[in-house]
């Protein structure tokens, strides 16, 4: 009886070790004086200093690029995804079923397929590669996530409040701005955050649509990882990103959720 109960516990422990042990090693290695991280040679902050020195300027440039793209892509897809969700929810024609399929496709389609096809499209059109082409490529899949998040929110959206707003003298735009958007905001924001995280760590699609010298952070890290002497700097960068993520998630849990609940 007791031994049977132990199995789930052991499994959980194994999974946790498997998931978090590498991260723990990474964090420790970012403070490891050893260049190769195969053995412990004492504490150091050298890699952090290196990360913030002029030598790592291209890392920071890639971070800037990634932020630029992620912010642009999530803002645009918040607008387009929300309107797509609204239309999908409101009109249930056969054409809308096709529309839903199109919105859903980027979520299930393999990234490599999207990457290659977008790459070919850019070549065919003869478009110069720039941050904007990457942003547009990211928007194509971010829209879908925002649309699904907003569709979820629309499930329990009582449309008569729009009529009520119009009845009380609001123009169509006022009704959208003062009633529809505030009520859908949790879905729009959730979709936008999801889009932001998906965009900022996208590798495959970016790989196919980026131009020479336009590495985003994931691509930059990949090219650095091929030269093992730069590994410790990557560890330091990853540790900082991890800390940042934890702080943001903690803050959101702590403050934003109760505020959304009203």
């Amino acid at each position: 009886m007791k031994s049977r109960l132990r199995i789930p516990g052991v499994l959980t422990a194994l999974v946790l070790v498997f998931l978090y042990f590498p991260i723990l090693v990474l964090v420790l290695n970012s403070f490891n004086a050893s260049k190769y991280g195969s053995s412990w040679e004492g504490w150091t902050l050298r890699w952090y200093r290196l990360l913030f020195s002029g030598e790592s300027r291209d890392i920071w440039e890639s971070i800037q690029r990634s932020l630029h793209i992620a912010i642009g892509a999530s803002l645009v897809s918040m607008v387009l995804g929300t309107t797509a969700a609204w239309v999908l929810h409101r009109y249930r024609t056969r054409l809308q079923k096709v529309h839903f399929g199109l919105v859903y496709l980027p979520i299930v389609a393999p990234d490599i397929l999207m990457g290659i096809s977008l790459g070919i499209l850019l070549i065919t059109l003869g478009v110069d590669r720039s941050l904007e082409t990457i942003t547009v490529a990211h928007i194509t899949f971010c829209i879908s996530y925002v649309a699904l998040a907003v569709l979820g929110r629309l499930q329990d959206f009582d449309e008569s409040v729009v009529d009520a707003a119009r009845d009380l003298g609001a123009t169509w735009w006022q009704a959208v701005w003062r009633v529809v958007i505030p009520l859908l905001a949790p879905g729009i924001v959730a979709g936008g955050l999801l889009a932001f995280t998906l965009s900022i760590d996208d590798f495959v699609i970016t790989f196919f649509v980026k131009g020479v010298g336009l590495d985003t952070l994931p691509l930059k890290i990949y090219s650095m990882a091929r030269h093992s002497r730069q590994m410790p700097v990557i560890n330091a960068l990853s540790t900082l990103m991890l800390t940042f993520t934890f702080v943001v998630v903690w803050y959101v849990q702590r403050h934003a959720r109760p505020a959304l609940r009203g």
């Binding site: 009582d158 008569s160 409040v161 009529d163 009520a164 707003a165 119009r166 009845d167 009380l168 003298g169 609001a170 123009t171 006022q174 003062r178 009633v179 505030p182 009520l183 009203g262």
Partner: protein, 381 residues
């Protein structure tokens, strides 16, 4: 006269289906006008055409002499209390009520004062800063009413405002609504499928059936003089009798042979002549029941002999089903005296059912399917 709100040949079609068909009627300034009809008869469609959410396919709607068709909902001088309340869940009660004034770009101080006045009117002062999901259904309804009234609309539209509430609360809010109406003096157009609600609150009622207005009149008029079998059956219960006119008895009465029942006298509510086929509506409470044979009947009274087939005690009254020949009559008897003082008729008793000839009402139209709307069929075989 003071026809304030006018519907003129208003029609709305969905494909081949007429949701509202050639509806014409007038509402007077300051009155409570009820649109009464079964679910699906087109009440909401009519209301939404007045509010501006749907445009009619034909006809016009005038408010205070001005044609409002084609004007968007936010520019019409009417406000609506929606069936589902439709309160803004993200705003406080205060901001819900102030929404219309804010849209009208009124000053902050003015809005606050008006909202306070409304909160006071609907007795919600202590809930002003709550959100809609923190108050009860009855309170939400009052917020919806305040939110509409604060804009001082020319007409207040109410779409089944009490339908979602339980009976006791419904009765209380009905009284409150009536008081609010007295206080603000605004014209109310009140949509409901509940005839007691319509009777209780309105000055006049328009009875709707299948997209058309069947009859318009004061509650008593509709109840006492229904034009057809639909109105008679929808407003309260009744007995339908069908027969053929035998002869005129002077100016006022005619002698009619009722199928499977015998000869009775009816009041000439309209011009009839011997040989005409007629349909009569006879309300159960107009009939009286007695166990002894009546003395010689006068010209204005009818007496029919029968057997008590069923007795249903309903508290304030008792309903009897009396079999006469092949059909049954519903009779209702008020208990004005304590029941045990006398011996009431009971199952199997031989009784006489009596009524005044002018208590039956001659219907202009009759359709057999309307008899099925009654609580129990008149024939059992």
């Amino acid at each position: 006269m003071n026809e304030f709100l006018v519907f003129e040949g208003v029609t709305k079609r969905y494909g081949d289906f007429y949701a509202v068909r050639d509806v014409t009627f007038e509402v007077r300034q300051g009155e409570i006008f009820a649109l009464l009809g079964p679910s699906g008869c087109g009440k909401t469609t009519l209301l939404r055409m007045l509010a501006g959410f749907i445009e009619p396919d034909a006809g016009r709607i005038l408010v205070d002499g001005k044609d409002v068709t084609g004007i968007p909902p936010d520019k019409r001088p009417v406000n609506t209390v929606f069936q589902s309340y439709a309160l803004f869940p993200h705003l406080t009660i205060r901001d819900n009520i102030g929404f219309g004034l804010k849209m009208a770009r009124r000053g902050k101080a003015e809005i606050a004062a008006e909202v306070d006045r409304m909160l006071d009117l609907v007795d919600l002062v202590e809930h002003a800063d709550k959100k809609p999901d923190q108050i009860s259904g009855g309170q939400k309804q009052r917020v919806a009413i305040a939110r509409a009234l604060v804009n001082k609309p020319r007409v207040l539209l109410l779409d089944e405002p009490l339908a979602a509430l339980d009976l006791k609360l419904r009765q209380r809010l009905l009284v409150e609504l009536d008081e609010i109406h007295d206080e603000v003096g605004i014209t109310f157009l009140y949509v409901t499928h509940d005839q007691t609600e319509a009777m209780a609150i309105s000055d006049r009622i328009g009875v709707m059936n299948r997209g058309r207005v069947a009859q318009i009149g004061a509650p008593a008029e509709i109840y006492e003089s229904p034009v057809d079998s639909f109105v008679a059956a929808f407003i309260g219960d009744t007995n339908f009798l069908e027969g053929r006119v035998i002869e005129r008895l002077g100016d006022e009465y005619s002698l009619v042979a009722i199928e499977a029942m015998g000869e009775i006298r009816v009041y000439n509510d309209r011009e009839i002549s011997p040989g005409d086929e007629i349909h009569l509506s006879l309300r159960p409470e107009k009939l009286s029941i007695q166990t002894s044979a009546p003395a010689a009947t006068d010209e204005a009274r009818n007496a029919i002999e029968g057997t008590v087939e069923d007795v249903i005690y309903l508290g304030a009254l008792t309903r009897y089903w009396v079999r006469t020949g092949e059909r049954r009559l519903a009779v209702e008897r008020q208990h004005s005296r304590f029941l045990l003082d006398e011996k009431p008729p009971t199952w199997g008793d031989k009784v006489w059912v009596r009524w005044r000839a002018d208590d039956g009402y001659l219907l202009r139209d009759f359709a057999p399917e309307h008899a099925e709307m009654l609580s129990l069929p008149a024939e059992t075989e």
